[in-house]
Amino acid sequence: MLRNAIRVPSGRIAAVLLGIVFFLAIFGPVLAPDAPNTTVGAQLQGPSGAHLLGTDYVGRDVLSRMLAGSTLSVLGALMVVVIAFVVGAIPGLLSVYLGRAFEWVSLRVVDTMIALPFLVFAVAMTALLGNGVVQSMFAVGILLSPVFFRVARSSALSVARSQYVEAATLSGASTAWVMRKHFLAKVLPPISIALSTTMATGLVVIASLTFLGIGVQPPTATWGGILAADLQYIAIQPLAPLVPVVVILAAVLGCNLFADAVRDVSGEAGRQLLNARAAKKAGRVTRVPRARIGLRKGGELG
């Protein structure tokens, strides 16, 4: 599936963008030219030879802060996704298989979670568990989990009640066989789409929570935190917010394009698309010159 995703243009762009994002997350702190939390120059400077992206409101090097903050930003988003997946997808699958009582309870819990106001819940979580990175990730992850619950449940439902699963059962297939041979191919595409869109949401939500002072505490650098600080001084340095905005956008775009690519190449339609592309490449396409099929009143079409 992943190999197929790279065969469409959106998948290639996504691969490049996500590659850059993960590269930054891993090597960013090492590449930072200055220490991220020390004042190295005048305040709110524009880009210059010494500070490629300028300095912030206390005179710290923006490039270093962006690079140093990338690990925490990306890791945070990943953690949100993992928590949302575990809290959402697994009960979603089980709700189909574990019987009516579990189904009823889990559905009601998910309905309740969808109704919770996002920020209030995050603030309440931090008030309850203390303000910290991990706590805020948990809050966001739990709040995003209904997405996974729904996706996992709906795909599990459609497969579990299908005749081909019944046919396999009639040949003596075990539950593990049905899961492996029939279930995964149906569930993986929607789940991986949910994964990448949630990753994008996670990036944005963490950025906005940092903006509100929940989660990551200053002076620790994150993309969202830098954006928040830049916006306060927008009157003096109007272009400064562009730096974190472009990076966050690129990461979000990468995730969304990846989700698009997976959706495009999976299932029936995906196979046709890939076949058509392969045929076009090999020059095996013959265009039908404008076929017209019409049916007149009182006529017959055979």
Binding site: S162, Q163, Y164, E166, A167, A168, T169, L170, S171, G172, A173, S174, W177, K181, H182, A185, K186, G267, E268, R271
Partner: protein
């Protein structure tokens, strides 16, 4: 042929769906036998319980009362693991009405056909491939189609593939549930001919349908099911020429022929009304 050698022996079987007040008796004291080398028809209108009987034989519907044995084994009262072992041996196979739904859309036709063998295990990839090719040839399915997906082949080809999947375990009993009703007339005849060519001394076929035409065309004996009970059974020819029960008469009289129905609308309505008073 003595009765205890029957491939399929359904004795006084009752099946009910639902519990307590919602309980509904769908199969009421049905007796039915299929012997080796025979093609037996099971005919009835929608909701008469045809498919439920098949599901009871396959262990998908709970038998409330009575006994079912397949190839000499009493299957009523099997535990889940006994059912799994029994199914893996492939003694009885089932062909669904709609092959588009009974074949996984994301699995190649060849892999769908070989699935029962792969579930059972113990064969190499080459042996499985050879078995699939041989089976495809037997149901007259082009070998080139084995790498395609269900949506990429025609309805008749799909049903051949579904039948090939049922045959690959060399079953003794094959239950076909409306195998041709999703097909157009020309394809239907081809598939029916193919089914007739499967007739052998060791295999029994239970052919379930609401279409009296195809039942008369291929079966030796026929059971007529009405509201969960067998109302008439016997040699298909005799049944078609001299139906005894009211419902059988109505069924045969309602078959459209080129010269119109053998019973006209008034006669059919009268028969239906008489049937209603009978079954109350």
């Amino acid at each position: 042929m003595p009765e205890n050698t029957a491939l399929l022996n359904v004795e006084n079987v009752h099946v009910a769906y639902g519990r307590r007040r919602g309980r509904k008796q769908v199969i009421d004291s049905v007796d039915l036998q299929v012997h080796a080398g025979e093609i037996v028809g099971l005919i009835g209108e929608s909701g008469s319980g045809k498919t439920t009987i098949a599901r009871a034989v396959l262990g998908l519907a709970r038998v409330a009362e009575g006994e079912i044995s397949v190839a000499g084994e009493k299957v009523t009262g099997f535990s889940a693991s006994q059912w799994r072992d029994f199914r893996r041996r492939g003694v009885v196979q089932y062909v669904f009405q709609d092959p588009l739904r009974s074949l996984d859309p994301d699995v190649e036709i060849g892999d769908s056909i070989s699935e029962p063998l792969r579930i059972r295990g113990g064969l190499s990839k080459d042996e499985i491939r050879a078995a699939v090719c041989a089976q495809a040839a037997e149901v007259r399915l082009d070998e080139a189609l084995l790498d395609r997906f269900p949506a990429e082949i025609s309805g008749g080809q799909r049903q051949r593939a579904a039948i090939a999947r049922a045959l690959i375990t060399q079953p003794k009993l094959i239950i076909l549930d409306e195998p041709v009703s999703a097909l157009d007339a020309a394809t239907r005849v081809q598939v029916l001919e193919m089914l007739l060519s499967l007739r052998s001394d060791t295999v029994g076929l239970l052919y379930i349908s609401h279409d009296i035409g195809s039942v008369i065309g291929i079966t030796d004996r026929t059971y007529v099911l009405y509201r969960g009970g067998v109302v008439e059974h016997g040699a298909t020819r005799a049944l078609a020429s001299t139906p005894q029960h009211l419902y059988t008469r109505l069924l045969i009289g309602s078959t459209p022929t080129l010269s119109g129905h053998s019973l006209d609308g008034v006669q059919r309505r009268e028969l239906r009304a008489e049937l209603e008073t009978l079954s109350v």
